[in-house]
């Protein structure tokens, strides 16, 4: 493996990271919205959200990417591979985040809601000051685990042309026919990238665990 090969593959890291963060951001925002629909009490909203979540999770990610890129991309709008990948992965992340947040909501001790209501706190302060901080702490491990999975899933974007790690590795392998080292390096990069996320999550988890009501 010469340095040029290595540099090319490493050049994909920034795309991998940016795609992961973008999809995560889109997913958390949309996911919170979907979760709100499911917990709103309105049966229609709940059903719509539940169906959306089910469909988004049942179809393999790559198909969503293809549908968005080849479907919308070539017809109605012009979108770049990155945009298609971000939207596709973002929507799937939203579906998973909705479920994670929903699970975390029920894990936040019921007494917290009751105490806040008993203190006559207005709804938005209740959310911001009492529930949201605990919600974040409770859901952090699941979100971190999902983020690590998402990092690896961004490799799919290579098939529609996003120049991230897997794309570069395929490119180098086709040029040099040295698939063994190329893909070993690519795999190693994914593993290496997930380590700091796992550590950060465990550190944050330990610090925050003390502040969650039991």
């Amino acid at each position: 493996m010469n340095s040029q090969m290595l540099l090319t593959i490493v050049g994909g890291i920034q795309w991998t990271v940016i795609l992961t963060l973008t999809s995560l951001a889109i997913g958390i925002v949309l996911g919170a919205g979907l979760c709100a629909m499911r917990t709103s009490g309105n049966k229609a909203l709940d059903a719509i959200a539940a169906c959306l979540i089910l469909i988004l999770r049942a179809v393999p990610p790559i198909i969503w990417l293809f549908l968005i890129f080849f479907g919308i991309g070539t017809g109605i709008l012009e979108i770049t591979p990155f945009q298609a990948a971000a939207v596709g992965l973002g929507l799937i992340t939203a579906a998973n985040m909705a479920e994670i947040i929903r699970g975390s909501l029920s894990a936040v001790h019921k007494g917290q809601w009751e105490a806040a209501r008993a203190l006559s706190m207005p709804a938005q302060y209740r959310m911001i000051d009492i529930i949201a901080p605990q919600l974040i702490r409770v859901s952090l491990p699941s979100v971190a685990t999902y983020a690590i999975g998402l990092l690896k899933d961004t490799a799919i974007a290579s098939t529609i042309g996003v120049p991230e790690i897997a794309f570069q590795a395929t490119h180098v392998s086709q040029l040099t026919f040295r698939g063994l080292e190329t893909f070993a390096v690519a795999g190693g990069l994914y593993i290496a990238l997930s380590i700091p996320v796992a550590w950060a999550s465990r550190w944050a988890d330990k610090r925050m665990r003390l502040k969650v009501a039991r």
């Binding site: 179809v59 795999g187 190693g188």
Partner: protein
């Protein structure tokens, strides 16, 4: 709308052929991968670190590397080391590795969920560690792990859609072939999505029910 349905009728046989291959490759990988996962989970209980280390490496790589890269590593990389596999075999190898790595964690958690008192009772009755494992722990731990294993199997079926990058003529491959001939990408991939949904949505619902039933007994 009618054109789309007519088109779908036309391409469905081909797509189903591919889908059958997707199901086969997933099934075979699970068949090999889950028992291997069990062996890995049992092997991790060894005290000797020298014995555990290679197992841990296998698990970390199987879980840490992207499935796509794993596929390409086996299909394109192994020939450099002198081992050439057909695309079907390559996919099975990569998926079995991935399955074993993830399921070892699922099974380990399942076994750990068996109450400690069960082990103590078996110890007090002088049952051998092997008997305790086979007759007491596994019969209780495996059922606990089943919902998670099924959920993982669904994910593996979805992952088979990536096998086209290593030239396996499964569903996505067929879809792309038709697409490159007809350019009707949206109808084609919509049908592909429907095919996956038809299997995965009921499967997900069933797993959800199983999980709820299991939690009620605990």
């Amino acid at each position: 709308m009618n054109e789309t349905i007519a088109f779908w009728e036309q391409i469905l046989p081909q797509l189903l052929q591919g889908f059958s291959l997707s199901l086969q490759v997933t099934g075979v990988s699970l068949l090999f991968g889950i028992p291997l996962g069990l062996l890995l989970a049992l092997g991790l209980r060894a005290r000797n670190f020298l014995l555990k280390a290679p197992l841990l490496a296998v698990i970390e790589v199987g879980r840490g590397a992207s499935v796509l890269v794993l596929l390409q590593f086996v299909y394109f990389g192994m020939p450099t080391a002198g081992l050439t596999f057909t695309s079907f075999v390559s996919v099975v190898i990569a998926f079995t590795w991935c399955t074993a790595a993830y399921t070892s964690e699922i099974l380990r958690a399942g076994m750990e969920a068996v109450p400690q008192g069960q082990r103590e009772a078996a110890q007090a009755l002088r049952m051998t560690p092997m008997d305790t494992l086979c007759l007491i722990i596994l019969p209780q731990g495996l059922p606990i792990a089943i919902p998670a294993l099924l959920g993982f199997s669904i994910l593996m079926l979805q992952a088979s859609s990536l096998a086209f990058v290593v030239a396996l003529p499964e569903l996505m491959s067929k879809a792309q072939l038709i697409g490159s001939n007809t350019f009707q990408y949206v109808p084609i991939f919509t049908l592909v999505a429907l095919l996956f949904a038809v299997i995965c949505i009921p499967a997900t619902i069933v797993v959800g029910h199983l999980e709820r039933r299991l939690n009620r007994h605990i």
